[in-house]
Assembly symmetry: C2
Homo-oligomer: 530 residues x 2
């Protein structure tokens, strides 16, 4: 029998070192084509690890990048000069999204939110295409890229630019991926039956009744339509710069390895492909000791423990009416509270609540005194909550955040409060549920055990497969033939149409023969009657 102790021994990833005692692979030359914003945060984690393993990297960045620094000890950068600034558009979008959501959920607000999203989104892709165009049209830069003899392109296919450049340079491709333009990566790669695979944004799970499956189909149609529109600008780029032309979708499907920022402890199980590697939680690390003053504050919470709250780096702050309600609830709790908050100081703040600009989130989540994590549901935060086993009270703001939190809620490891429903009553109830119903903690700790019980850690998987592509100059043998086919051949519609035609001809022939026989009989019998 397996003892509890053994469980525990296993519930920790193997040390990163073991793999590379056997595989001292170093010195790869990698061209990194990232996406800015929160996408860069996780790409940077990978860049850091690759750098530590001795790989050389060149990062392509726009001159007005938000987060991607020009000078870094981790990489050499290639800066593409751009005039437009996208940050204002984005900030305005975020504010608008919060405002519309506060007005309550309705079909009208759904279309308004969707419309805002598509406007911002189309601008973003236009901006990313501009970067790619400037790279591809700069003959000197292109020559420099060719001469650099990179081993592979590491890119986030949320923009299609990286994969187009890779094709142009004839280099293998590794994706650090979860989203592709408008959709979720799997929908481009693996068959995805809509009967049990919820479309992002639909608010559905993998258990759907008939009405929900109709809703899912409806969401899929909208997303597919919008996606196809966005992909057009990348198709143009392909047709202009890739010899013989091609579609961006076929380029995406040809990538050698997909490092997928998810796993099936977090996400619902669904079909996958041989070159998809699940690296969900690759950014998570064990907690380190807190700074002395924070540790003192945390310890002062005694038996009640600590609640921590953070709504991520993107949003500057919730409207004051909301933060005041939240602060009131916090002030009534026996717990201590650490709240990462950058807006106005709430007027109702209690003595038990510490407001901070920044907090060591992973170290707090890994602290045994921390009981609940109030979060917006960004992938990083949710993965860290799973890793450290802390239940989440989720306040989703935009993008995939509701869907991320829904996955926790479905497994009884968290609760969601929508912005429209957020008030002191719902917030207090949510907090108390999570604090007093032990099942939430038990469930997320079970997820944590499952997440950590892997033959090798997600980060080791990343490094292994990137070095694999370097060693074998790609991973063509893992790529299916699907990308070479038009959609009607892929779905065997041409074959079925032919078989249907043959069947029709056959049936018609039988009918014709019978009719002919009947006619003759009639003709034969008629004279007798007359």
């Amino acid at each position: 029998m397996i003892t509890g102790e053994m469980h525990h021994t296993f519930g920790v990833f193997f040390p990163l070192s073991f793999l590379f005692l056997v595989s001292p692979c170093s010195g790869g030359n990698i061209l990194v084509y990232p996406v800015d914003g929160s996408h860069w945060i996780n790409m940077k984690v990978l860049v850091e690890e690759l750098h530590a393993k001795g790989h050389k990297m060149t990062v392509i960045r726009p001159s007005n990048s938000w987060y991607i620094k020009e000078n870094s000890p981790l990489y050499t950068s290639i800066t593409i000069k751009l005039e437009e600034d996208f940050k204002n558009v984005f900030d305005l979008y975020l504010e608008e999204q919060i405002r519309v959501q506060r007005e309550g959920a309705s079909l009208l607000s759904f279309f308004r939110l969707n419309n805002q999203f598509m406007t911002m989104f189309t601008q973003a892709h236009g901006f990313w295409c501009d970067v790619a165009k400037k790279v591809l049209e700069d003959k000197k830069l292109v020559k420099q890229l060719i001469d650099s003899k990179y081993d592979l392109v590491l890119t986030d296919p949320f923009t299609g630019s990286g994969v187009i450049l890779a094709k142009y340079l004839n280099l293998p491709v590794v994706f650090n991926v979860r989203w592709i333009t408008r959709g979720e990566g799997h929908f481009f790669m693996a068959p995805s039956p809509l009967s049990y695979i919820p479309v992002p944004g639909s608010g559905l799970t993998d258990k759907m009744d008939f009405i929900q499956r109709i809703k899912n189909m409806f969401f899929y149609s909208i997303i597919k339509f919008q996606e196809d529109k966005v992909l057009l600008i990348y198709d143009e780029l392909c047709n202009k710069h890739i010899e013989g032309g091609c579609s961006i979708v076929s380029l995406l499907q040809q990538a050698d390895i997909w490092l997928f920022r998810s796993d099936f402890v977090f996400d619902f199980p669904r079909p996958t492909m041989p070159n998809m590697v699940y690296i969900g939680g690759f950014q998570c690390k064990p907690a380190e000791p807190l700074p002395a003053d924070l540790e003192k504050f945390v310890q002062s919470s005694g038996e009640h423990g600590v609640i921590i709250m953070s709504l991520g780096a993107l949003v500057n702050g919730l409207p004051n009416d909301i933060t005041d309600e939240i602060a009131t609830v916090f002030s009534k709790m026996p717990q201590k509270v650490i709240w990462r908050h950058t807006g106005d100081r709430p007027s109702t703040l209690g003595n038990n609540t510490l407001i901070v600009d920044w907090m060591p989130q992973k170290d707090l989540l890994g602290h045994p005194q921390v009981k609940v994590f109030v979060a917006h549901g960004g992938t990083n935060g949710v993965q860290e909550a799973i890793y450290h086993g802390v239940p989440v009270l989720g306040i989703p703001l935009f993008f995939d955040q509701y869907d991320n939190l829904l996955r926790l809620q479905e497994r009884g490891a968290g609760k969601i409060i929508q912005l429209a429903d957020l008030n002191s009553h719902s917030f207090e109830k949510g907090l108390k549920d999570l604090l007093h119903d032990s099942s939430y903690r038990e469930n997320i700790q079970r997820l944590s055990r499952l997440h950590k019980d892997k033959p090798i850690s997600p980060m080791e998987d990343c490094i292994f497969w990137i070095e694999y592509v370097i060693r074998h100059k790609g991973a063509r043998h893992l790529i299916s033939e699907a990308y070479k086919m038009p959609w009607y051949s892929y779905h065997s519609l041409d074959v079925l149409l032919l078989l249907l035609a043959v069947l029709m001809v056959l049936l018609y022939s039988i009918y014709a023969v019978f009719r002919c026989l009947c006619c003759r009989r009639k003709r034969k019998t008629k004279p007798k009657q007359n």
Copy 2:
């Protein structure tokens, strides 16, 4: 840059020990429900490894088993008394298959072969169902099985019996699988587009033109029809013994982990599922030194090297006319030959050819002097050829052998000679091609490097996932919702039908409104004209 030396360093699996330094998981209590014959050969490899890791096993076997011994230091056995003997039927089937194939390929011979197969096959499943019935109807034995509190059932779902027993005992299930009744395992589990996934027995690859895709659809229909017929007897068993009844297919789809005896170095890439673990080549081990006399014989081959030939354990021997032709060709070659052959001694045997009853196949394949492997294409042999990087001249006899060899041939790592085309001329040409065209050796050595370049070895994967299921009492979170749905819901046909109906009503309404309007107009205009 990665050096050749590093390649080499990596091209060896990590030592089996590393995993279990961290995971000293032992003492699982496993109920093994195997399939006899060649299926037991690879199940036994797994049983040996599990035994070495300290797991306790109980094996269910029929009293007249061919290979599964009653007394073994590896396991306790439960013997089910059976009268019928299936061995004679099987041997007769093999002889008949060889005879019909020698007559040449035609549509008639295809149907004759298929008919022979289905007759033998239906009998086999009837036999396996008898075993399951006897277990389930023996109240004393069932109580003993319940009292034993097994952690899981390890079974080969080539027969559906193991999974039915597991459901009855309410135990998690791990499969050691490639074939399920009539079909390949993937077709039961993962979406399998027929546009690029060849149906076993079709002789097709993943690159198909229009006509080949029609052929593939045709083969799929035949196999599906025959499969459904075979599955009926298991459905009966389910409905009789499982509370509330269920279909055997849904039981198969609910298995916790599928240890799949293939990988995508060997097989064509295709959609897969989160609980499918690819263990192709798990039975392969590095070569050990040959016995002194054999080593002396091998060394005596000098620069020309050695050819080895074996057509597996199932077949007693090819017809004498064939073996004579083969022996003639061998006698003319400058190489030495080691031939595992149990039939009559060929009259034309040369001095360079050593006939043996048994040979240390893996140790020979791993010997640098061995240049070509003449084989029937059984999974074990093909996987060993890939592991050791020796090109294969294949003479497929039955079952999956042609398909296995086709995968090597497609990658330029082997050649196939069909029984109908086998004569001294074709055999000599085949041998010489493989010996003198270095691309065959280069290609299979590339496959060997790819096969060995994995984060952990296939056998470690087996042990990891079996112990994972023990630790977590199953792996429910990796099983998709698909198995709960009727086929029309799974394919969203009900949703599409509704949408079609709505569309029709809508179109008809528009038509009706227009007709109404037109009528009015007519009525209005008519009087004026008149």
